[in-house]
């Protein structure tokens, strides 16, 4: 399969719906098919990055995200303004990711071959 740059945009909170989990499954599929994968957390999607998640009996989204580097998903980004709007401190995010300003997010979207939103 041809190699393209797929940008996955996560906009949903981790547990309010199945979307965060199903989005992550799609990211892993893209990695398995050897695509260049970037993941961007926007809006309520930044709640997925918060450390200290302790969901009982369901899959811990934060832990799953920590496994992404094992699948060669190396480009994780999050929106600085989404963090600020929700009063989340950058030090509470234990996943290696790069904060992006809104103009930088526009640039990232412009470089992607496809954008998939979850």
């Amino acid at each position: 399969m041809q190699k393209r740059h797929l940008l996955f945009v996560f906009r949903s909170s981790p547990y309010g719906s199945g979307r965060a989990r199903e989005g992550l499954d799609a990211v892993l599929a893209a990695a398995i098919f050897d695509q260049t994968v970037s993941v961007l957390f926007l809006g309520d999607g930044v709640f997925q990055l918060c450390a200290g998640q302790a969901p009982d009996d369901i899959r811990n989204q934060h832990k799953m995200l920590q496994s992404l580097p094992l699948y060669d998903v190396e480009y994780l980004y999050f929106s600085s303004s989404a963090l600020a709007e929700r009063r989340i401190n950058a030090q509470d995010i234990l996943i290696p990711g790069k904060p992006l300003s809104d103009p930088e997010i526009a640039d990232l979207m412009a470089t992607a071959d496809q954008i998939l939103t979850f």
């Binding site: 041809q2 979307r19 499954d25 599929a29 398995i32 939103t117």
Partner: protein
């Protein structure tokens, strides 16, 4: 241009399911090609043949089905998302020893690889979520 669609909204979210359908119709009307329509998340429920909408409501299930059949489009329903929501074709129903077969024609069950394949082989992949 070659397009694919990724649809994730439940049929209950009529405006998004209708918006996706109108978008797809417009693409063909303007001579674009649709490579694949991938149904994921809650949108897999659009592919049931067992839904009975209230009489006064539009039948979005039938509208989608007729559109896909009329244009012989590749309509793929994510198998993992479908199974966990109780949507089965004949083969999966037999595999898991269930008494129900409720996947409508012309939908196919397949894996997430089909979504990635669509992303790679289309000029544009549009998400309706």
């Amino acid at each position: 241009m070659i397009y694919s669609l990724l649809i994730q909204s439940s049929p209950d979210n009529l405006s998004i399911c209708r918006c996706a359908l109108e978008f797809a119709k417009t693409l063909l009307h303007r001579n674009h090609r649709i490579y694949r329509i991938f149904f994921y998340g809650e949108a897999v429920q659009l592919a049931t043949c067992a839904a009975v909408p209230p009489q006064d409501d539009p039948d979005i299930y039938r509208e989608w089905r007729e559109f896909l059949e009329q244009h012989r489009l590749d309509a793929v329903v994510c198998i993992a998302a479908a199974l966990k929501r109780g949507l089965l074709n004949r083969e999966e129903s037999a595999r898991y020893q269930k008494s129900v077969v409720n996947l409508a024609n012309p939908y196919d069950l397949s894996g997430l690889g089909q979504l990635i394949d669509a992303a790679v082989h289309s000029d544009k992949l549009i998400t309706f979520a």
